[in-house]
Amino acid sequence: MKIGIVRFPGSNCEVDVWEAWRVLGQEPKMLWHQETSVRGYDLIVLPGGFSYGDYLRTGAIARFSPIMEDVIHFAHEGGMVLGICNGFQILTECGLLPGALLRNKDLHFLCQPQYLRVERTDLAFTSLYQEGEVIQIPINHGEGNYSIDDAGLKELEENGQVVFRYVDKTGVENELGNPNGSRHNIAGIVNRTGNVLGMMPHPERVVEEIVGGTDGQRLLLSLVQAWERRMQYGA
């Protein structure tokens, strides 16, 4: 599987994502933000970090990086794109995903383990999870407060575009389990066609027990499996 990880100036989780894939047996490539083509890739990952310092707004400047034009094109043609944290922010800024990520409601940056409920498992990103399963993936952001207007929210929910929701330990979505004030406890969403996923939690941080857990593994492995299936049976 050909995985490209886009490295923007100021990205800082790109190596972690790279290492995570390697732990799972893949050999991803780093893509410099100034490249202009992502042809030939099976998956593009926009990693976490502070692209361009996250100055102005998170993800705002990165979206104009040379490579993004082709990433957008790639996504429109059905290419798989995964945006993690800053990557999610970039995806909303460039319009591949709806809404915006605002400052956390209590204004603090938060780095902590977080319970998530998997809302959909019919996606290439999540097929190895159980529907409704509660998993633990850490968050690490100052601006993860998912915001969208009422109409947009309604649409998201009706189309089942919410993939991960913040929940408490018991799997219930409530205020307590919502670390940043996101509407409807949204932690990750997918586009209508199911090929672009943006999420604030960091799955790449939980693929090895020794550094905190393995709940992120199945997300990455789902993608590999989906790709294998596609190779086997065609698109």
């Binding site: 705002a60 104009f64 709806p98 915006a100 605002l102 204004l107 407060n145 207007d149």
Partner: protein, 82 residues
């Protein structure tokens, strides 16, 4: 030279936690204020060459980069720089 003074504010319907935090702080310090909203203020200095279609260009810049229309409004004024 020209200077564009841009203000970018969160749309009314969007919660502004930073503003509310400042509001609370001011109230607890004993100041009588009703509400605080926080946005951005930017000064963009333009070269002489940009004068002709400065307004148009600033709208474009504001729309594309300086604000995110999903959550923010912008406005600007152009002034001749001393």
């Amino acid at each position: 030279m020209l200077k564009a003074k841009v203000t970018v504010t969160l749309k009314k319907s969007i919660l502004d936690p930073q503003g509310s935090a400042v509001e609370k702080a001011l109230k607890s310090m004993g100041y009588k204020v009703d509400e605080v909203r926080i946005g951005k203020f930017m000064e963009v200095t333009l070269p002489e060459a940009a004068r002709e279609n400065a307004t148009e260009m600033m709208h474009e810049i504001c729309h594309k980069l300086l604000s995110n229309p999903v959550i923010e409004d912008y406005s600007f004024e152009l002034e001749d720089k001393e």
